[in-house]
Symmetry: C2
Subunit: 467 residues, 2 copies
């Protein structure tokens, strides 16, 4: 049979699987700066708020109904709800809800949303393992933060090595690298040795999740959920002696070379254990894809300058081609589609000055004034503009032109959300579900999770009172 065996292969990769396993299994607890540790708490808190906020979304209801077909044991909590399911399903469900609003954290170098896969696996496993009677394994809040930092370092470093080729060819990089991060974190929680941790990473390497074509559907948030579940199970399998290739990540027919033609191994090994990728995590002020944020911010600044929707002849928007590739939906029909519409983002920014989950509701998306306003947005591609920037000119009915250029949107690394802003964002998502008082207590518990005896207090506060 004729076949093309000319797929490029690098037979000289460093032993990435072993190197990462060694790092995950042996790096000292809290072996990083206070700034890194604080960022881990910000990441955890932001993730938890997003998961609570979306807990009654129809995607969550559908996923829970499917999981319930398995008659799961009540091991771990579905955040924001009273139901409990087995820990693997809890990882799945909380991973789904944490990404449903597109409001979670972003590792800007790779567009990975790292907490969804990793934190969802960590909390679900910690809640169950830490509470099992007779279990010798204790899981403290410190163990959880350690696992979160290390797991996110694994997924983001693998992402760094493969980005952008891996993403460009169609992978939703959050799910495809997230399985590895979740496996690493759960291996750490289970206190697996180096060899077992390598097996956990190896089993996870066979399960990258997620295609970009799913953006705008419930399967997008399914990706971090499925990655969380697969990573958790990979660690459980390894803990029971299940084997994988010790070169599963780096070998010519291993994961990374199979899913990416770019593999810069040094991105994984350079300053490993000294530089932590969670340092580069950011948090969204707006409940949509990160590439829309500069455009929303620019239009919100137009509003601050006194421009109102009724004055608009048209809005001239210039952005990088990636922005329109990812979020070019001109006529979104519902809230979910609107999250992939830079046109709607501009309309929301000018009308409201921000765009939280409410501004992406079906009702607002289909409001006549919003439909009319976004039709006045004329978007053009300009690849000299960075994908993290936006150039907006409001052309008014009276002939005036008002120009705003946003280099770094609010929520970027250069212009981060403050702790207080993160708390306000959390309240905005959670108050309706848990009430303001319990939400405040939950926020406090998140800030001190690194000192908690176990996961129980956070989980209890993330559970509404049964009616």
């Amino acid at each position: 049979m004729a076949r093309n065996t000319q797929v490029v292969a690098d037979h000289n990769a460093p032993q990435i699987t072993q190197i990462l396993a060694q790092f995950v299994a042996t790096h000292p607890s809290r072996g990083w700066s206070d700034a890194v540790d604080h960022e881990a708490h910000r990441t955890f808190m932001n993730w938890l708020g997003c998961a609570v906020g979306a807990t009654h979304h129809e995607a969550a209801d559908a996923a829970l109904a499917a999981v319930n077909m398995l008659q799961p044991a009540a091991q771990a909590s579905v955040l924001g709800r009273t139901e409990k399911v087995d820990m693997a399903s809890a990882a799945l469900l909380n991973g789904i809800t944490s990404h449903t609003f597109d409001f979670d954290d972003t590792h800007l170098k790779t567009i990975i949303h790292p907490a969804g896969p990793v934190a969802s696996a960590v909390l679900a496993m910690a809640e169950h393992i830490g509470n099992t009677t007779g279990n010798e394994l204790r899981v403290s809040g410190r163990d959880m933060i350690d696992a979160l930092v290390l797991g996110i370092d694994v997924s983001c470093r693998v992402g760094n090595a493969m980005y952008p080729d891996h993403y460009d060819r169609g992978w939703h990089i959050t799910g495809s690298t997230g399985t590895l991060g979740a496996a690493a974190a759960c291996a750490r929680l289970l206190k697996l040795d180096v060899q077992q941790t390598a097996m956990a990473l190896g089993i996870a390497a066979s399960q990258p999740v997620g295609m970009r074509e799913q953006f705008g559907t419930m399967t997008k948030p399914f990706h971090p959920g499925a990655a969380a579940r697969a990573g958790l199970m990979s660690a459980l399998l390894a803990s029971k002696g299940y084997t994988a290739s010790p070169k599963a990540l780096e070998a010519p027919r291993g994961m990374m070379q199979t899913v990416s033609t770019k593999n810069d191994w040094s991105e994984i090994t350079h300053e490993l254990g000294q530089r932590f990728e969670i340092s580069f995590n950011s948090y969204k002020p707006f409940a949509c894809g990160i590439v829309i944020h500069p455009s929303i911010d620019a239009c919100a600044q137009l509003r601050l300058q006194g421009v109102t929707p009724d004055q608009i002849e048209r809005i001239e928007l210039k952005v990088h081609s990636l922005v329109l590739e990812l979020t070019g939906k001109k006529e979104p029909q519902d809230g979910l589609q609107a999250k992939f519409s830079v046109y709607h983002g501009c309309a929301a920014g000018l009308t409201f000055g921000y765009a939280a989950e409410e501004e992406f509701s079906d009702e607002i998306v289909n409001r006549a004034d919003m439909v009319a306003l976004r039709r006045k947005v004329v978007a053009t591609v300009d690849d000299s503009i960075d994908e993290a920037s936006a150039d907006v000119t409001a052309v008014l009915l009276d002939g005036r032109r008002v120009h705003v250029f946003v280099e770094h949107a609010i929520g970027s690394l250069q212009n981060p959300m403050t702790d207080a802003q993160l708390e306000a964002k959390f309240h905005g998502m959670s108050d309706e579900i848990l009430g303001a008082a319990q939400t405040s207590a939950l926020i406090s518990a998140c800030w001190s999770i690194g000192n908690a005896a176990d996961a129980s207090q956070v989980v209890a506060l993330a559970t509404p009172e049964k009616k």
Copy 2:
């Protein structure tokens, strides 16, 4: 940021996801020839025997121990054992065991082992859904065979479209296409409509499983198991209203273009509903990778010609480069590694005349005479020889040369195993687990599964008596 967006994309693909969904949801029951239906029964029986046979393998024990950490509900049987687990975990475990011996079926055009993902999902779902009190959905044996034929058609046609590029770049095509086949089959069992079936395929499209680097480890058989599980869950999610892209398979950033640069869409659409890929399924007489079979067969023929191991100076083996790429382990250390050693295959063929699971035991692999004999095998690459053939010359100590060329090994489409041979193979795997009498009854139940009221009899016969 500089980026290469020059990944080739085909924006004019036919609507593969919709076409397959329409086919799966609406093709008539038993809408194929008697020969196709008989092949489906052969496929089902061979798969079941493999799953029973490997049920006490350490991979099965490890996987079951991990699953038991979830405290699963007793919905569906682990074949060959007394334990029951939730239906998704049963799909996982039976998928693992059915591929553990590398003794399952092979769709030779693509080297897909199609039953592992599809049949494992079908039987687990049928056992539970068909037995749930108050459930309006009945699942007959006919429904199961229909789902098996249609599911296998989906995975193998997608495989045909992407092979060989997809495989060459590192994907274990059994797991990567198997998720789709399992989703299709379970969608059919659940009697989902066209739209929901498209969603099931779409959710599954985000979950291709398996890298070739895992060959020789427990993660290889994990691939069909994980694919079965993911496919089953995709259908459950779709049945509860979970959404995915309706173009998830064929879009430029959909599954197929993301994991393969070759996508011949006509392989999916041509003669759909008229030609059934299960017709091209084959069954292994030897318990190892299919590419070793011609070499084993050739050495077994040397043995029939009177050549004995003590006469051997060396064995000159000429094979296609793929054979050595996949199975080139010169010094296997245990049974699992020996399954990827054409050298051990030759030694077993000459010594025993065959190579079932016993001939891949650690004990025989490490026997001194076997080690010595396989060191006398000198393998060279000759790409003028088809990968389904082997050219073997025994050079004897007395100077004689005995030559055998095998064009089509036993078990190939051109030289298939008979029904009686399949039954003997089944007994060889199952008698030790279930006893000869119960195994005979189980074989009979497999031959008549298409007429069975439900899955209960097959499942009961595949369960050993509790001691």
